[in-house]
Amino acid sequence: MMLDPASWDALRLSLLVACTATIMALPIALWVAWLLARGQFRGKALLSALVHLPLVLPPVVTGYLLLIGFGRAGPIGKFLYEVFGITLAFRWTGAVLAAVIMGFPLMVRAMRLAIEAVDPKLEQAAATLGARPISVFATVTLPLIIPGILAGSVMGFAKAIGEFGATITFVANIPGQTQTLPSAIYSFLQVPGGEDRAIALVLWACVIALTAVALSEWLAQRVAKHIRGIENDT
């Protein structure tokens, strides 16, 4: 499907934002998922509520809150700019932040369910064999939750590709700079005769989504087989 330069830019930017956001969110999501699944501490319910907040808030509200907090004049944005020279608002990096925040609950949820499905008795057995908690996680828990991590990553990636409300509120819709795939489709539909360009991008969105799901299914099956030991591929 042929695309004009503006559409290419939007597609490329969306892929860049989604990949960066997924990779950055992955370790934090895994840590939070582990805390929620296995941790026993005060404020667990609060953490859970906070993580899930972007799921229930209108995305525009999340975007506006990001703008207040991370804008050049906002408390966190000001700090980041003055200390590290980092600007998030109206930049593609801000789109990454919005994608991380919006995809985070979905990633945490999938990973938390996977961790909860691991029998704690196996982790206890590992501990009695002399494995420290970090080692238990790395050698027992982690290999068993790889399908969950993959599922969570695909969810996060898909959310990042599709994120619109928070992104457009936080970083606007500047072609070539912050115009992601959904923002571009939205823009094309605002001008007469833009339907063809929109449809081309819609098709690309479908291709990306299907590829991501198929890839993760394939990987998850390989991992599951490996865990169950049906396939002896060493």
């Binding site: 029998d119 008795k121 196996l122 206890q124 057995a125 590992a126 501990a127 009695t128 064999l129 002399g130 494995a131 420290r132 908690p133 080692s135 238990v136 050698t139 027992v140 290999p143 068993l144 490996h226 865990i227 169950r228 030991g229 002896n232």
Partner: protein
Amino acid sequence: MSLDLQITKTQGNFTLDVAFTAPIGVTAVFGRSGAGKTTLINAIAGLIQPDAGHITLNQTPLFDSTKRINTPAYQRRMGYVFQDARLFPHMDVTQNLRFGLRHAPAGATGPSLDEVADLLGLTPLLNRRPTDLSGGEKQRVALGRALLSRPEMLLMDEPLAALDGQRKERILPYLERLKSGAAGLPILYVSHALEEVARLADQLVILSKGKVAAAGSIFDVLADPAVAPLVGVRQAGAVLQATVTEHGADGISTLHLKAGTIELPGVAAPIGNRVRLHVLAQDIILSRERPEGLSSVNILRVTIKNIRIGDGPGAAISLDAAGDQLLARVTARAVQDLNLTEGQSCFAIIKATSIAASSIGR
């Protein structure tokens, strides 16, 4: 080398309140379900924290509520064999065994992976996955994995409970070999099967409703009339040690006891071997006179040590057979009719077929 503990732990309306010492050798913890066996073993392993008390292994405190010591499980060096094996499903047998080895403290010595695999008959299974193993094979791998973590003590929580009789028979010899091989390790063996306990244990601790109801050498505890109701009157019976002296052509073997010889069928141990006999109390008949013309030839001269009249119609009587201890169960009426008294000499008749083959351990 020993484990010494005194702990209390309350969970809901159940309280575990126990104190005992487990020396080198097998200390069996016997009790019905709900007696607190698993709570006890998990507290020793460090998987649950007692409310108060202390747990000391070889003079090293693992838990002490007054000194606020609570060593985490991964530093306790307890080789724990769980009832459900708990092999890591994403690793093959070799990797499971290596897991123990890899996390053993630096400098700790012990048998190599090959030696453990050989001892437990795991060599043909090394490349298999846990899903491809039978229950008995899983338990052997779990035992090997625990041994390779170089433990200072072994904890075994009903390792045979999930296995049927035949599989049990196949794994018991490995446990017996381990007992004679891994010298210098205290082994805590939790079980609700008196057969296994009678066969393996050196020391016996009987738990009842969270408390120690009896403790001591297996020979003393199982010969104690007061213990009979705790283990169940049908299962009650003393453990004897005998030496195999002859295998007859008709399948009957002769075994030597301190008080004489007895003849039993189905003894597999070679001549000269020491075997254990679990003689059920209900299979002993007492007679004031040496009986004549009986089909059983297993007649021992014994002295009555202690008579305990139970709540029901039964009475448990401990007997001394030239230093060996026996436990007999007769009716309270028989005690009266025969005029049995403590210190009296009489004859015990043991039915040969009453000793099940499975209770003839090495």
